[in-house]
């Protein structure tokens, strides 16, 4: 059974079509790389899954439930595109920020207990950043900040991880380390991963499938199929496709 199902999804913004008739299914434990050029609707697709924008038509189901009736949001870990804290002097420690990832599992009045604190520390430890627990979040480097926000997404032990261009602001070494961390979460903990990136070549090394968007689904399949696809040769041109696949 698919853990995410999108059927005939269309999204309009300011009267222009951002996504048109998008359909795909994600099975539990799959790692999907969502790729495409700027303005291709990658982030809009993710935001539609997370109810952050309205959809014009179509049907989204998560864990077998229509989006409108899905309520178990603690099962989804979300890493937004902007993980650099805009207000550098925001008075919040890493521990406080990561703990907010647990709020979705709690009922009013939401209070944290010792178990929650242990969960936060354990998640930080799993990502190798437990020493940052009391640091002010605005003072962290880009790579540290990225891991802290990944910890926030992971702390509720979600089944699905949705990551929106997580490596955009990272240097190549940190980026590779980040991809390896996600691959290990997918392989060892069976997390379903949806990861947006511009970098088709790199994500091709890690993701089980690529979903290539350009306002509609251009390609959905594994990297080998992507490299052999006549449609993609036509879309990119033979030379560009060779460059992408050669890095593989």
């Amino acid at each position: 059974m698919s853990i995410i199902s999108v059927k005939n999804l269309s999204v309009k913004m300011s009267n222009s079509t951002v996504l048109s008739d998008v359909s795909f299914e994600v099975a539990s434990g799959e790692y999907i790389g969502i790729v495409g050029p700027n303005g291709s609707g990658k982030s809009t697709l993710i935001r539609s899954l997370l109810r952050l924008n309205d959809i014009e038509c179509g049907r989204i189901e998560i864990m077998g439930k229509p989006l409108a009736h899905f309520s178990d949001w603690s099962k989804i870990g979300y890493l937004p595109q902007a993980t650099i804290v805009a207000n550098k002097s925001f008075p919040a420690s890493v521990g406080e920020v990561v703990a907010t990832g647990l709020l979705g599992c709690k009922s009013f009045p939401r209070r944290f207990n010792a178990t929650d604190r242990d969960a936060v520390l354990q998640t930080l430890e799993n990502l190798g950043i437990e020493h940052l627990y009391q640091e002010q979040v605005g003072k962290l480097s880009g790579g540290q900040s990225q891991r802290v926000f990944l910890a926030r997404a992971m702390v509720s032990n979600p089944d699905i991880l949705i990551l929106d261009e997580p490596t955009a602001a990272l240097d190549p070494v940190t980026r590779d380390h980040f991809y390896q961390t996600i691959a290990s979460l997918n392989k060892d903990q069976k997390k379903t991963v949806l990861l947006i990136t511009h970098d088709s070549a790199t994500i091709g090394r890690y993701a089980g499938k690529l979903l290539y968007l350009d306002r509609k689904v251009v390609f959905f399949g594994n990297f080998k199929e992507f490299c052999l696809s006549g449609d993609m040769s036509h879309y990119f041109g033979d030379f560009a496709q060779h460059l992408i696949c050669h890095q593989h």
Binding site: Y78, N87, V97, T100
Partner: protein, 275 residues
């Protein structure tokens, strides 16, 4: 010149000083706590907007001979929802929405003042505050409402924190951000309108902004920021009232100047620590 300490001790013997200190401190604490959330969300001017808007209901109530806060509180809540609606649904920037609602309030209040010239003196008291004239009933009401405000902040603390840090993420994890924002503006409305008695319509937003920005200079954690803001608020209210009594100054304005002094000290401390 008489020694200062005996004068301060003498000041605290007066019932009106005691009432002013109690009411002012409780309002100051509410303003400080809410102020940390509002300043970090760049909503601190909502206090200014709601205070200015309240000129209309206060003017209206004075014209009809009704106790002003009975009209100002519900009208202020409606105004705060109007600001939220304009900002969220009418494609209007938040500061423009605040400016619009505040201007309507001030304009209506001024028209009422010109129509009913007999209550201009009362209106002046609301414009610049008159904390030393707080009655026992007003003081008790302020304390009771402050407890309600602080209890609701305590119960919603985690939601308020999560939204202040990252509202979009708060929505993703299933928090009801609309309801929490409504709670924040309702609590702000109550606090601002009660604060009008302390420092007046013109200066009430300073009670929200100053303790928060003072605390934010020195704090690295959120709870510490709230604690520092509360300490700054109580100290500024008490010192402001005492200084006003000793030097025969307007209490509201003196509280604001003391707040500014605290901010300067915290800013200098931060700068020196960095250096």
């Amino acid at each position: 010149m008489d020694p200062v300490i005996p004068q301060i001790v003498e000041a605290f013997q007066f019932g009106f000083i005691q009432r002013a200190v109690v009411a002012g401190s409780f309002i100051g604490v509410c303003c400080a706590v809410l102020g940390v959330f509002l300043v970090l969300r760049r909503l601190s001017l909502i206090g200014e907007g709601l205070a200015h808007f309240s000129l209309a209901p206060i003017g209206f109530a004075l014209m009809l001979g009704i106790y002003p806060l009975y009209v100002a509180v519900p009208m202020g809540i409606l105004a705060s929802f109007w600001i939220l609606h304009l900002a969220n649904r009418a494609n209007m920037y938040g500061d423009a929405a605040i400016g619009l609602v505040s201007a309507i309030g001030v304009a209506t209040g001024v028209i009422m003042a010109s129509l009913g010239s007999g209550f201009n003196v009362d209106l002046f008291g609301y414009l610049f505050g008159d904390i030393l004239a707080v009655s026992g009933v007003e003081s008790a009401m302020t304390v009771a409402l402050s407890f309600v405000v602080l209890l609701l902040v305590f119960l919603n603390y985690q939601e308020l924190f999560a939204i202040a840090f990252d509202e979009e993420y708060a929505r993703v994890i299933g928090l009801n951000t609309v309801r929490t924002n409504q709670i924040l503006v309702i609590l702000t409305t109550f606090t601002v309108i009660l604060g009008i008695k302390v420092v007046g319509i013109m200066l009430v937003s300073s009670l929200i902004i100053f303790p928060a920005v003072t605390a934010l200079q020195l704090s690295r954690g959120f709870k510490t920021a709230i604690l520092f803001a509360v300490i700054a608020a109580i100290c500024s209210v008490v010192m402001g009232i005492v200084l006003a009594f000793l030097f025969n100054l307007p209490a509201g304005a003196t509280i604001v100047i003391v707040n500014f002094a605290f901010f300067l000290i915290s800013y200098l401390l931060k700068t020196l620590t960095k250096a």
